[in-house]
């Protein structure tokens, strides 16, 4: 009991109390704060932007992360350890590093924007793309893909590849063996990783703020504007904060459920 007391006090005061205050703010007026959130002119466009961002980022980073993890799992342990280290680097990067790195590469006068323009593409279109929800998804994948790789690598390393060899010896192509033998068995952890990165990107605002400022229509930036502007409607902001937290927690819980399904699959 004594062992958990300091942590209990920490989380009571600096986690439970702030959340309880927000809940009181949001629910205090009989739920009218939620009605005011839905009536904000920017709420529905921001929800749309967040959905596009989350869907594109989760799909892109899960697809790339899966391919990279499959490749890493087929390597010798030495090479795999080395490459895992390199791939894990962005996990401790602040969102600001990612934002400025992508401005240098893909911004209006970015390195790659100019190269693509020299090859005949419209520089104005490419240079603006980074500052849309889809472009933000492309930049956010920078710190999401490592999460997918780290989540899936243990699953793939433990996968018995003799099954793939058997499938190929029975006449399947390598691609068929991967699609029809490997994929069905790792579907649950892949879905779990997708949920995890969706929850991460849905609640984040740092990279977006550094890239575009508050003009970009996504829910966390809308909340940030409400919080940082003076004289704004705090109960409505608290209601929006609860909605965002509920969405992130739901995605996280779904991810956990997929993960536990895979553990049951292995136990059987």
């Amino acid at each position: 009991m004594l062992l958990v007391a300091p942590a209990g006090a920490l989380f009571a005061l600096f986690f439970a109390v702030p959340l309880a205050v927000l809940a009181v703010d949001a629910l205090g007026e009989g739920g009218t704060a939620f009605a005011r959130v839905f009536a904000l002119p920017t709420f529905w466009p921001s929800l749309g932007g967040s959905l596009v961002l989350t869907l594109v980022a989760a799909t892109l980073s899960t697809a790339v992360g899966l391919a990279v993890a499959v490749h890493l799992a087929s390597m010798s342990e030495r090479r795999r350890t080395l490459l895992s280290f390199v791939i894990a680097l962005p996990l401790t990067f602040s969102g600001l590093i990612v934002a400025y790195g992508f401005i240098l590469g893909w911004g209006r006068a970015g390195f790659f924007t100019q190269i693509v323009a020299a090859l005949g593409a419209d520089a104005a279109v490419i240079g603006k793309a980074l500052f849309t929800p889809t472009g933000l998804a492309f930049a956010s994948s920078y710190y999401l893909i490592p999460r997918v790789v780290m989540a899936l690598l243990p699953v793939l390393v433990n996968f018995d590849r003799a099954q793939l060899v058997a499938a190929e010896s029975l006449g399947a192509t390598r691609a068929q063996a991967f699609r029809q033998v490997l994929l069905p068995q790792i579907a649950a952890p892949v879905a779990g990783a997708a949920c995890l990165v969706a929850a991460v990107v849905f609640g984040a605002y740092g990279t977006a703020l550094a890239l575009v400022g508050t003009q970009l229509r996504i829910l966390p930036l809308q909340l940030y504007s409400l919080v940082s502007e003076t004289g704004s409607d705090f109960p409505a902001a608290a209601a929006l904060a609860l909605l965002i937290t509920a969405a992130c927690s739901a995605m996280m819980t779904a991810g956990e459920w997929f993960g536990s399904r895979h553990e049951r699959h292995l136990a059987n």
């Binding site: 062992l3 958990v4 300091p6 942590a7 920490l10 986690f15 109390v17 205050v21 927000l22 703010d25 391919a67 990279v68 490749h71 799992a73 087929s74 010798s76 350890t81 280290f85 390199v86 791939i87 894990a88 680097l89 962005p90 996990l91 401790t92 990067f93 602040s94 969102g95 600001l96 590093i97 400025y100 790195g101 992508f102 401005i103 240098l104 590469g105 006068a109 390195f111 790659f112 710190y143 999460r147 780290m150 989540a151 018995d160 995890l196 609640g203 984040a204 605002y205 740092g206 550094a210 966390p220 909340l223 940030y224 919080v227 940082s228 608290a238 904060a241 965002i244 937290t245 992130c248």
Partner: protein
């Protein structure tokens, strides 16, 4: 899984991905040493002046010291609060304790830093708890956001080492609780404790989303001040960002060295 080689398509994706991974880092370094970078493919001229400007800028200097102070306090408190908690979670027989720990692991993702920051603003600007603007509030927030990663790393290591068997052996030889903790538990866990603390320190130093709203004007941390640099000269912004990047890279190398690369890095963000 080494019997069959990966399909060519998969190897191609990895190659493109590694280029995508390296490009922003390379461009930031190049830009920080470039004298002038304005609508050209790469900057022209070589200079150290951007680093000199960052180093002599009073607000950057203060922010740097502030970041290091906060990170140091977070690391110390992480040991004080987190180590007993990890030990309790590991020894717990009741499934409820393990369930609470699993919820805790998910906390940094399930609860966005922005929402926690807003909760802090509302809770600690009241007359009862008027702490907003103090450095301790920053420390507390970073601790709540970082502790789950430390806990996960240390509890996993306790399970991997089969600590219970070691402790039972020590107990049978007459060691009491404190002796077991300081002579068996702590020395066996030193690698994972160090690696966990490095991750927590790196997270604290790079943390922006929480600090941006909660830091007082006098204790703004480095990333909060760094955002202002984005609106100035490219070289200055690059140099200011490379400082943060270099710290994150150093933390990754230190983390890998402390575990000998055996344990994969904790997952962050």
């Amino acid at each position: 899984m080494t019997a069959a080689r990966a399909p060519r398509f998969v190897r191609l994706v990895t190659a493109v991905y590694l280029a995508y991974l390296a490009a922003p880092i390379a461009l930031l370094f190049v830009g920080s040493f470039g004298n002038l970078w304005l609508n050209t493919l790469l900057p022209s001229g070589f200079t150290f002046r951007w680093y000199a400007e960052v180093a002599t800028d009073p607000s950057f200097r203060r922010a740097f010291v502030s970041s290091l102070t906060v990170a140091a306090l977070v690391v110390v408190l992480c040991v004080v609060v987190g180590l007993p908690l990890a030990y309790a979670v590991f020894r717990a027989r009741r499934p409820a304790v393990r369930a609470v720990a699993r919820v805790l692991y998910q906390l940094p993702v399930a609860l966005p830093a922005l929402v926690l920051a807003f909760g802090f603003i509302r809770a600690f600007s009241s007359d009862a708890l008027p702490w907003l603007g103090s450095v301790w509030l920053l420390v507390a927030g970073h601790l709540v956001l970082g502790l789950p990663y430390f806990l996960q790393a240390v509890v996993a290591d306790m399970q991997r080492l089969n600590l219970r068997v070691l402790e039972a052996a020590a107990e049978s030889l007459g060691a009491n609780g404190a002796q077991r903790f300081f002579q068996i538990v702590l020395p066996s866990l030193r690698h994972s404790i160090l690696a966990g603390l490095i991750v927590v320190a790196a997270l604290s130093i790079g943390e922006f989303q929480f600090s941006n709203l909660v830091a007082g004007f006098l204790n703004r941390t480095y990333p909060v001040v760094q955002l202002q640099a984005f609106y100035g000269a490219t070289g200055f912004a690059c140099a200011a960002t490379v400082v943060l990047l270099a710290l994150a890279l150093a933390a990754s190398f230190a983390g890998a060295a402390s575990t000998g690369g055996a344990i994969r890095p904790a997952q962050v963000h």
